[in-house]
Point group: D2
Chain length 390, copies 4
Amino acid sequence: MIKGKEINTISEVLRYGMVGGGTGSFIGDVHRKAANFDGKIKLVAGSFSRNYDNTLSTGKKLGLETERLYKNFEEMAEKEAARKDKIDFVSIVTPNYAHYNIAKTFLENGINVVCDKPLCFKVEEAEELADLAKEKELLFCVTYVYTGYPMVKQAREMIRQGDIGEILMVMAEYPQEWLATTVENEGNNQAAWRTNPKMAGSSNCVGDIGSHVENTVSYITGLKIKSLCAKLDIIGENRILDTNAGIMIKYDNGASGFYWCSQIAIGHDNDLKIRIYATKGSIEWQQEDPNYLKVTYLGKPKEQLSRGRDEIYPLAANNVRIPGGHVEGYYEAFANIYKNFADALLSKKSDCNFKKENYDYPTVYDGINGVKFINSAVESSKNGSIWVDL
Amino acid sequence: MIKGKEINTISEVLRYGMVGGGTGSFIGDVHRKAANFDGKIKLVAGSFSRNYDNTLSTGKKLGLETERLYKNFEEMAEKEAARKDKIDFVSIVTPNYAHYNIAKTFLENGINVVCDKPLCFKVEEAEELADLAKEKELLFCVTYVYTGYPMVKQAREMIRQGDIGEILMVMAEYPQEWLATTVENEGNNQAAWRTNPKMAGSSNCVGDIGSHVENTVSYITGLKIKSLCAKLDIIGENRILDTNAGIMIKYDNGASGFYWCSQIAIGHDNDLKIRIYATKGSIEWQQEDPNYLKVTYLGKPKEQLSRGRDEIYPLAANNVRIPGGHVEGYYEAFANIYKNFADALLSKKSDCNFKKENYDYPTVYDGINGVKFINSAVESSKNGSIWVDL
Amino acid sequence: MIKGKEINTISEVLRYGMVGGGTGSFIGDVHRKAANFDGKIKLVAGSFSRNYDNTLSTGKKLGLETERLYKNFEEMAEKEAARKDKIDFVSIVTPNYAHYNIAKTFLENGINVVCDKPLCFKVEEAEELADLAKEKELLFCVTYVYTGYPMVKQAREMIRQGDIGEILMVMAEYPQEWLATTVENEGNNQAAWRTNPKMAGSSNCVGDIGSHVENTVSYITGLKIKSLCAKLDIIGENRILDTNAGIMIKYDNGASGFYWCSQIAIGHDNDLKIRIYATKGSIEWQQEDPNYLKVTYLGKPKEQLSRGRDEIYPLAANNVRIPGGHVEGYYEAFANIYKNFADALLSKKSDCNFKKENYDYPTVYDGINGVKFINSAVESSKNGSIWVDL
Amino acid sequence: MIKGKEINTISEVLRYGMVGGGTGSFIGDVHRKAANFDGKIKLVAGSFSRNYDNTLSTGKKLGLETERLYKNFEEMAEKEAARKDKIDFVSIVTPNYAHYNIAKTFLENGINVVCDKPLCFKVEEAEELADLAKEKELLFCVTYVYTGYPMVKQAREMIRQGDIGEILMVMAEYPQEWLATTVENEGNNQAAWRTNPKMAGSSNCVGDIGSHVENTVSYITGLKIKSLCAKLDIIGENRILDTNAGIMIKYDNGASGFYWCSQIAIGHDNDLKIRIYATKGSIEWQQEDPNYLKVTYLGKPKEQLSRGRDEIYPLAANNVRIPGGHVEGYYEAFANIYKNFADALLSKKSDCNFKKENYDYPTVYDGINGVKFINSAVESSKNGSIWVDL
């Protein structure tokens, strides 16, 4: 037996295209499954690889029409923009260094953008993309997946409602173990480009997972980082980029924080964990057990708040599909990002009173903050782990 | 960053129809999302409700052609059987009492069947369906969802490989809390039919969740139940059917077992937990934390085996989509049931050497065992909790 | 820093003697440390072994006077009874088969008794001891250690106060792994006598740890067992006595229960766990994490109640020595048994209004219930696991 | 049944006196129970309070002779030193500010010292005490209790043996919640002196619990702190001293660390947790669940190492009293500090080859490191959270 509400599927669908995500890519398939999850969004076009054969075979497997399989993203942006049944948005799932150019091209062609994170390498580029989207009145989503979890949304809303008072201390971490050995020398392609500054930019570990910490904390707490003091450690023979980092934070409200991210922490896979301590209570969320919040109110026993079992705010409840005790995971969180972006896009198409502030997905401005954070951490560490203002 | 292998989507798709699952149904949407998950299976026909308006509106929302929206299942079976592009299988997601007739009708029309559990009320009916499927050379899947979890499959394979020796004791339980109060009197439709013998049959709690315990243990261990001694408790004012049950088990290999299922156990949602004790080790799996197995080998520290992190058998690994530390849950398990059934069906269509034994999905024979188990438990309890042979 | 209340030590001490517990014994030392814990009780006499040399050397190590080291328990009972400064009580820590005679002898000599569990082998003998204690107006404690834990006391009091309503279902278990192999053949003395019916009586596993389950559940819930259906499994080559057992229970209030005890459950050490499901909530306590109760009230989030942190009833709080977050364990629970018995004894010596009902320690009547439970379980299993009334 | 080895009690006892620990004190009783635990150490003298009546009544309760109850510590040191049966050591359990003078006085009188932590306020004073002890050939123990836990000792030995390779990263924390409100204004005496710089020195939170983090990490890892960058937060109205602190660490081997201590972290009691990441594995220990180590070796499943169940090094095993599955806690850890100090003292008295390096208790040199750490953290924070060398 399953208790629960119905999640309607709908006939009105959005059409999208994808850049990147051909054979050999992992994250492309995740994006496609996530977009497909609720039956609202249909893949109709793609330039899945710089290798056109890959694009053709991938597109064929996915059942796309050959005429909408493009040799490169420029051609795709141009030709799709010219179609009557053009794509509603493009999804960019290439390695990071390529994001900026692709996003810019599609914006210039009047097409909404979903882009994997981190958005790009330079703050100016990030701001340019934001300005362009604003000018063209286009929506721009950066897929910080962890904000898609219902209990992350619950934490955000509890804090916005003042349930635990004013924030005093944030402890957040994202340890992994996958770079504990130099697998980049043993044929691991992900490891190869992540540890290569040409592909990954000025930071590997902070850029990849530190930025998830920054974004998820920011989403939950609403706090702005005033300054930070970072120590980036390059662990692993012959490596150039960081694989471990500790970052002390001063927030604008006077609270303190500490972020730890690591790719050499044996025993951890994707162990993002966020703890918020405030004047009236505390909240803890852990990505590997995402359906729960540990909550303690001052003077009360520790509680476990369960998605789908206990009463939660609408912001969270609207992103739940099944009752408590049946686990929702990574795909469902990712699907929520697409679902909320799609809701915004559908509303924008049909509602003259559309306001994007009413929709709950990570935007290009989150992308800008991410780039600022990464670059400041690198700057602090290079200068002897001094305090750097953001 | 995500480590992992690619899960290919494919262009060759199976077409299916659905009986049940109209507006107001929960499980229908779960089946549709699960079938849709990997892009192999497409919904093309339906008789979603005994109310044709519901069928029409549901079908429209789902983007189906009107001509394939049927007034009742008999019409659907007949007309689909006559089409050149007929459905490859039907998915039956109605309340339990209707399963038998619908399944029989589609089998008679030469259409493969996926049916929700429990299969039906009487052992003879269950056996009749099995015989019919065999005679018609049709595939028949009963959606015992928990066997779709990779770590359940890992447990099965560890035991088949002798990793923990010979089984001595099984402790299994499935406590829930949702019927701790008489919500059937407060507008909860699920509760209303689950507690109504006309709709649910001779047992509520054992029929609904006890049968999941029986099936999941059976799948993992391969043990046959020789006899059982059951005490079914009717807890809740004016109720007629059981809401709590304890069942002692003797298995054919001499091992002992105990199954507990409850719908009045405050503090539990869908807390299926299975523990296997054997001569060389033990295994524990818990549905609410499904990505791990707790394993202890004789004389060794306790271990946690992680889906996607640690080395697991191909039977399990083939049902994993993402790396360790990113949670796969209920939808992904359900999708695995459909995926494996679809693999069998595609192979059957194309491969003259097809053997259904090579495919890993719950079949009509699992359905028969489920009905036997439920009925024996009811019989034992009615006769003063005596031992009953199966 | 440690928050907390002071536990006074006192100058007024009780004097006790010990039978058993010489060199080579384990539990004797535990009793001595427990008795000694709060500074109220002083060891002054002993007959630590049937081997007098052992008694002498043990007594010397413990700093006792030679004249109070006795060749056997009969001599000790007689001579101590004749002393002006005689012992206030005797502590019996021999193997089980000897308990009855020793206890009887001391009672007959007017000396209060503390006895390890199980009390003895036959119900009639247990009742005889109870009658003798009553007749002589002596106190008799049976050291069911787990009732000494503060959070076990908290569970008892919550149920007595009606906090979770009327009890519906009890799930209790005590799995161990130490007899997973036949260590009795490899020089393990404990294993040798535990698996020997001459030393251990008619049951090994139920007698040793099943009786702890029975007693702890009884203490917490106050329920009486009406009837039981037991399956005792003899696992391990050439063994005669049970090493695994499942026992279904019917309580006098109509509730159901299941007890599992095992010595072959790889992965468990002393994993006593008790779960109580009632009409308004549920309680869970686990011996290996004894400082907490998991509590869920109907319609509320799950809570963790912490000894020394959260508000608890006086019955529990009076047995706490240090603040929450600093662990109290097995010795402290054992010390509470002695402390509460000592409180009763001191009161009896000084207070004409003394009522033993006001003191919270396990008595000879708990001992009787234990013997009944063990014997009924053996009887049920021998007769094909039929239901047996208690 | 309890598996296990015998812990001998012995007749040869050490005699000690106590300064502080009168009525109203908490920690004094803990020290007395810990010293008393194994029957090796006997309290014979005391100056329990600056109030002589308190000393007299406390001493009487404890059964001491009146002639060994002293008006002040100076009198006690002098008179005890003159006795033939003088105390073997003094135990100093006063508030921190008094430690230095008392310790110095007893050392000057030729009496060994056990002193609560932190040792004193100034590095020079700490070094003076160390020099004095060395000159007088006296033993000096500082009771950093957490190093008394067997699994902390196991972690230390695993690292010394190279089991997890070279240390890369340390994450350690000690959150509490007891100062989340200003209880110092509500009659909490502990809070009053902890938050008062005259009594507590230049730091409250780092001085009290940060120093435990420093010491326990140092004991486990053997790493020396090269420099640190600290941010001390004064949270709570009208407070003068820190109640929350984050400290980034650079160790001499090039590893990084982060220590967090807090007294305002709602939901935590004494939640000391230490995680060590190294090249071949990782170790995690948590004070509130102290009988286990979580260990992960590169490429292997996560393991749980259990005190008393799994094979552990002699350094740890020698501090275990009971088998796995029966919890040892705070008192037993504290008793281990006293037991190991007593072993050293007994050996020193009797063995001409005595070397104090062979004994495993925290010494005055640990005390010096603690004072250095506290003072450096305060200095860093006062200067804008700059890096400070130790």
